[in-house]
Symmetry: D2
Subunit: 343 residues, 4 copies
């Protein structure tokens, strides 16, 4: 049983983290901070937690957080990097669900996130928390950068192909679609039901913040920089990401189905579907799984990978718990046994 704290629990990633932590057998949630909601019972903001979580939000207080063994940041970009050095110094381990520690280069971070990095010296020790790639490092990590939602789906889909060197890494295309919860709980006109429902659109085609994160991960898998076109779309639903990935095969002799199944055979949260299948986002709604199918339409040179996750679970809070489980030696699936809610 470890004591955990959550900084910033008022967004969708936050409430999902609280839901999952409440059901986790090895954690005691001792503090949830929010400057704006301090004093308000958490269940007043999130009525699903009524009766399950008695805590109230409190003002962020570094001393109190230092009594925890682990602190999650479910804050806007730029917040975690301000408090993390003190926590690490006090021996508290940290998982940041925002982007502060995802990029290894401080200047790249500044370029994409529009502010200087507050603790570039920590970037080297921060471990990128994609267990399917970095499990051993995560186990030892004091600071984990939890991956973004799009980057999780896109990397899991491309990894087997790139690691095996089967595709032209200069011409990767990721066409990704996200539910609206990816935009967070802030009151923005574009996220209103009347703007976002019964509507479909692309956004950020010129350059999305997840692009450098994905490139960094794919380059590591590939062993060299990659050429990636990434287009994000907003789809009128609450949860779910569907990544449709395209690449040009350099070798069409390989059995792609076998390749994917081998790559993920021992992964508890990656499910390779049978040949010919089309994964549905609802099959992972509320669950920590990534379901993947690989196709080669018309037996041509283009490989198409379909990967789905719940952006708030495997794409955020669930993956954070998975990382925690690995860091603290808990069973990797602890607290993550939920079956997707269908219908």
């Amino acid at each position: 049983m470890i004591k955990v704290g959550v900084v910033g629990g008022t967004g969708y990633t936050g409430v999902e983290l609280l839901r999952l932590l409440t059901g986790h057998p090895e954690t005691e949630l001792v503090v949830i901070t929010s400057r704006t909601e301090a004093g308000k019972p958490v269940a007043d903001l999130f009525p699903n937690l009524r009766g399950s979580l008695e805590l109230a939000f409190s003002e962020p207080d570094i001393e109190q957080l230092c009594t925890c063994e682990l602190v999650f940041f479910a804050t806007p970009n730029g917040t975690a990097m301000g408090m993390t050095p003190q926590l690490l110094e006090a021996g508290v381990r940290v998982i940041d669900l925002a982007a502060d520690f995802r990029l290894r280069q401080a200047d790249l971070w500044q370029q994409w996130y529009g502010m200087p990095h507050a603790c570039p010296q920590l970037l080297e020790q921060a471990v990128y928390g994609l267990p399917e790639v970095n499990r051993a490092a995560i186990a030892q990590a004091r600071l984990v950068a939890n991956p973004g939602c799009y980057p999780t789906a896109v990397q899991l889909g491309f990894l087997p192909l790139l690691e095996a060197g089967l595709v032209n890494a200069d011409q990767l295309i990721a066409d990704a679609k996200s539910g609206v919860s990816g935009a967070g709980r802030k009151a923005a006109t574009g996220s209103l039901l009347c703007e976002a429902s019964e509507n479909f659109k692309a956004y950020g085609v010129a350059g999305h913040r997840h692009l450098p994160e994905i490139r960094q991960g794919l380059a590591a898998a590939s062993g060299a920089p990659v050429g990636l076109t990434f287009v994000a779309h907003l789809t009128p639903m609450i949860r779910g990401i569907h990544a449709t990935l395209y690449a040009q095969l350099q070798d069409t002799a390989e059995d792609l189905q076998v390749l994917f199944e081998s790559r993920y055979r021992d992964e508890p949260f990656v499910d390779v579907l049978p040949a010919g299948a089309h994964p549905e986002t609802r099959s992972v709604r509320g669950a920590n799984h990534c379901r993947i199918a690989v196709h080669r339409p018309q037996q041509g040179n283009t490989v198409v990978v379909l990967a789905v996750i719940d952006n708030l679970v495997k794409g955020a809070a669930g993956q954070a718990l998975q990382n925690m489980n690995i860091m603290f030696g808990f069973q990797e699936q602890a607290g993550l046994a939920d079956i997707a809610l269908l219908p």
Copy 2:
């Protein structure tokens, strides 16, 4: 650990029952029957169950079912009454999620369901499975009639008022709204996304099958027949029922908030919200709770009760598990700890 079987697991009530049973600590699911899908792995039909449930559908086989200690019927109306006598005789206990054993009078059943009742002799021993009313009888029951979705919400909302004799029982109004999953998984034009989304309508105003069931329950609470107008509506979402109930107060001195809180103080799955609150269906999505608020607008004579449930959980499969827990002496909340998925 008991062995349980499910007859008819291909509808939404069925998949929800399978999801919940898969997570229950005291049950072993040994058989799921479906005439139409026999031989197909359950997870092929319901991709959320992939990796969690390995069973395939099988042809209904009374001998196999007789090896269970409990059989659930998640079948269309009229099926359970054909097989139940044999099962009971073999010592198997039965929970029917359809309507076959809900009405105590066989002729009334025939009038509303359009076929003669196959085993009217069992109606007397069947226990109506609303734990908040019949907990003791359920514990002893061999045959439980699991309540309908609307009847659960409407009865839980009206009960405190009727039991206390505070309202005019001749003029009750229940205006209820249901998500589309209440119509089941059968391919019907009216349930298509293009017909039912971005649309709201009433249906069955002339007479809905749940009317006699609700009347029977309210009459029992009231001690006399009641006058009830019940209007059902289809609302464009998947899960959830919201019942808005109206009654004329005969005594305006009573503190209704206190009344409701006292009535449900010891109920693990009924949550009376603070005065002035408006329950939301999403606060119980995937959870077995009924959340209720009671209002007296403008301090007038009309009391307004708002009650929400998930029609597939407290309105069907969850309540069935709750009944099982009571029947077999398990902890009443076993397997029902899920927190609602929000957002």
Copy 3:
């Protein structure tokens, strides 16, 4: 051909008004004002208008507005009453789509809208713009108070019963459901897709601002004050209101179907459905019709009326055009011939 101006065109009522005015054969839209969006082409905010409307928003300018023959206010409550006196003085006629001139008593307005009325002297000459009640007065009016969305549906549903004195006017119940566009285009957390979709809830049960407006209209029809319980609900869709109305019959001999059909025989925008029908909100999406059905379930004493409108059309912008048509002697259906979009 008349010159018209629109003050405040950045909300949903505004864009709908612009869409309809763009298609109206007798109007020239000369100015659309918005303090926040001044200078921006209207089509940048509302991409559906690209190619159909070349105007840009401009700063509100009373002199420019005075060049119009008619000015619509599609502003928040409290704005129209500040500019209307000057416009009327200049001979400009005014239709206010907000609530400023709907209540005949200034003190009641202050009580419900939380500010003193700026020009109570105009309340007497303001005509309540429900053509089915006040057509003759509207034709002569210089200032029309366009009805609220809920009040339109609820009044049209109750009128035949109250005018005929058939029901107990002390015990009226209006259970109304609205799409989310009724909450407007402002960025509010509760209107986010992730909060409002897949969810159903009541709101404002203690007292909704449309209550006094409805009461005022029903009292006029009834010839005496009425007792009304009004509960509004949010339903997860963009457009549409469904009012389910309940009243106790004092005379059960009357043929209600005939009553409703006679009352609305000559109304171009009220459609009484055949006996037994259930109107659907989608049958009026984008159209100016109100469709109504009347039921007497189980031949009891309770009459149930079902009325649907598009809250942005017959509940706002469409009714405003209808009022304009009447005021200026245009054909009442001019610019309002759109057939509802289905599916």
Copy 4:
């Protein structure tokens, strides 16, 4: 004023065609046939048409259809080819909204549609009804094959690039997303609200029937066969197609924005958005427009085109009317002036 008939008016393409024809100034709709619904007033099936269309469905009757100057087929694939020869012989012109006459090769048709073609001799005279490509031929045509919904959006997006020879035509990728109305009004499990809402998935990756149609059109534009990967997805909304198109530039010096604007300058229904824009499907809901934006992310070699249409309008019934207008010398925009419904 011409007399027109509609064969098969019970699907979504049918009701949209009826809505548009009802508002068209130059047509008189004299017959709507449906075997299954013969005798039923059209408005009973489609309540939006109540009061606007008095016709009832009738049994298909070739003699009656021969009294028309134009017959539309809004039937399943394979029906139009059975009746078209007789109609043409009688001097009736035909627009088929299904696929019967879209492919120029009968054997290819048989391969993809699973039945032999009934009148291959007509394939040569059938004109593919994409006005932006074949306007002159359409004007002379006796038989028009109305394009599919995906093919319309994909072709309009790729045409300027292919006609100008700017991209590698061997490596085209079309990632397309459609609302559920594309699947039609037939009662299929996969189109239920509870299956298709809150869900996103690809389908038909191995080979979609629109693939050969798109290839044929792109090859014509390119002057040589093309290599195309086409992936269709189902997005949880009623109307709309969003095509995201990817191609590798062979020449990066060309100003793509200028290219697209020039190509479509005189097209009444193709709207090229300003540089950097992201078209939304709702901006064309109910309207006959295609809105397009062209991007070159990160100034790389990959061009990304975004194209949106309403699948039932520009992707079906609206384009059919546009073709009719061209065939009969009406104003091309007649009956197609509707502004998209937003929100």
